[in-house]
């Protein structure tokens, strides 16, 4: 049994966490309510700034015309494909660089250049090369996510404790064994962190790509809305995107938890 003091201590923590949660929810409600009131009273222009009610109506309309899910599906699919491809390519290239320091040194300046280049500048070229379909969007997302993953994972690979590598060598492990039994397991947390960054990077790339070329997807929805001056649609698109990004982020978190339980 706990002592009275410990119970008070536990209660204090519980109350504190509860307060934080309540404040978070309250902040959201106040924001929505104030927005609605300002819009109703015409203090802000409802045509430009929209309002929560109009957004809900807009989303319901999208749902009724069956467009909502198509757009969400397309954006999710594009993000997933580029996320999976980006992670695999990033891992492979980082592994090659770890395996062969010579290659790593040779491509290092090029990685830096590509990394600092604003990828949106490549947009026109990508459209011409890959056409105006999903391919172009995925290439855009890959360009944004792959370089960052390579750099992060490679850094993790090279920062493995020298003494552990010495241990493996003293046990006569070959390079592949060092890689499989030491480098990869000691970098799981770095790889998962890279996955987290990758999800948001891919989403940025996909939306950017949809702005440029697409015929469907949430990026397309936002772009279409702005071109037809339908700000309700634009803000609805952003709102849906918020939810989508949050869901994807928590998916990775739950994978991380499951993996760390295993370890």
């Amino acid at each position: 049994m706990y002592s009275e003091e410990h119970k008070r201590y536990l209660n204090k923590i519980k109350r504190y966490n509860f307060l934080i949660r309540i404040s978070q929810i309250l902040l959201f409600i106040v924001f929505i309510v104030v927005w609605q009131i300002l819009s109703d009273k015409k203090i802000i222009n409802p045509f430009i700034f929209s309002s929560p009610k109009k957004i809900i109506t807009c989303i319901i309309n999208l749902h009724k015309t069956n467009n909502l899910y198509k757009h969400i599906y397309i954006t999710t699919l594009e993000t997933c494909i580029s996320f999976i491809l980006g992670t695999i390519i990033g891992l492979i290239i980082a592994s090659i660089m770890w395996w062969n320091k010579y290659i790593a040194k040779v491509i290092d300046p090029y990685l830096t250049i590509i990394n600092s280049l604003p990828k949106i500048a490549l947009g026109p070229i990508i459209i011409i090369w890959a056409g105006s379909g999903m391919k172009a969007i995925i290439i855009m997302a890959l360009l944004i996510s792959v370089i960052v993953s390579i750099i992060n994972i490679y850094q993790g690979f090279t920062s493995v404790d020298d003494i552990k590598i010495k241990l493996m060598k003293s046990l006569k492990a070959n390079k592949l064994q060092i890689f499989k039994k030491l480098i990869i397991p000691s970098n799981t947390s770095i790889i998962i962190n890279t996955l987290k960054i990758n999800v948001s990077m891919c989403l940025i790339g996909v939306i950017m790509g949809e702005f440029l070329v697409s015929k469907a997807g949430i990026g397309y929805l936002i772009m279409y809305g702005s071109q037809t001056f339908n700000l309700d649609l634009v803000i609805s698109g952003i709102f849906i995107l918020c939810i989508l990004a949050t869901i994807m982020y928590y998916l990775i978190i739950s994978i991380e938890k499951r993996l760390s339980l295993k370890n």
Partner: protein, 243 residues
């Protein structure tokens, strides 16, 4: 019988700006079952010699000859245990690398040397001394004939150090291993070794080899209480180059 013969070992380290002669004229023979300690001022290249014997580092010149086909085991300054493996799996690492499936020898060692209750624990839950004990079992798992120990206790606090050196000494004797231990601790060297090699500062050469003859030689802790102990301490202390 000599298990190892070293002649005129030499090591040069290269950096773009400078080359450093780390070791020169290092020759000595190691008998089977012997425990030899190497002492010397810090940075004199003690570990370098060990690395060359264990072929973790290339020699610049000289001969290292093993008189049998012997296996070498390394014990490092840090335990270097893998946090994602249990104690048992850490101990099996050497066998895993050699693709040997038989766990029995390791399980016996763990049981014999008091680690049986911990085989499913993870290293993070063990104390520093415990981890070093696990590291020793990991080294012994591959059945090495010669143990190379590179300041194996220097990361431990003083008390743990004393008890672990007792523990390691007992195991080495019981399992009939030959051992070379590098240390900067003179007392540790005298209390454990049959012979102490004193190295000069860089470039290191052998200054003197001292045979340790203690009356009633027992465990390292008991050996520290023998009447010859202060004499050897004084002798070695005077031989080592001090800054």
């Amino acid at each position: 019988m000599n298990i190892l013969e070293i002649k005129n070992l030499k090591k040069i380290y290269h950096t773009p700006k400078i080359e450093t002669l780390a070791v020169k004229n290092f020759s000595f023979n190691l008998k089977e079952g012997e425990f030899v300690a190497i002492v010397g001022p810090s940075g004199c290249g003690k570990s370098t010699i060990l690395n060359m014997i264990g072929s973790l580092d290339n020699k610049s010149d000289g001969d290292i000859k093993f008189n049998k086909d012997i296996k070498i085991g390394y014990m490092l300054q840090q335990d270097a245990l893998f946090n994602w493996k249990t104690v048992l799996d850490n101990c099996l690492l050497g066998l895993e690398i050699k693709k040997i499936k038989d766990k029995n020898y390791v399980l016996n060692l763990l049981e014999k040397y008091g680690l049986k209750g911990f085989i499913n624990s993870y290293p993070t839950s063990l104390s520093g001394g415990m981890k070093q004990r696990v590291a020793l079992i990991r080294t012994l798992a591959t059945k090495p004939d010669l143990l190379l120990m590179d300041e194996p206790f220097s990361a431990l606090d003083y008390q743990t150090r004393l008890s672990i050196s007792d523990y390691v000494y007992r195991i080495i004797k019981e399992e009939h291993k030959t051992a070379i231990m590098v240390t900067h601790d003179i007392a540790e060297a005298i209390s454990m070794a049959d012979r102490v090699i004193i190295l000069s500062s860089r470039p290191s050469t052998i200054k003197r080899i001292v045979d340790i003859n203690l009356t009633d030689k027992k465990t390292p802790i008991d050996n520290r209480k023998t009447k010859e102990f202060p004499y050897y301490y004084e002798l070695i202390w005077k031989e080592i180059d001090h800054v």
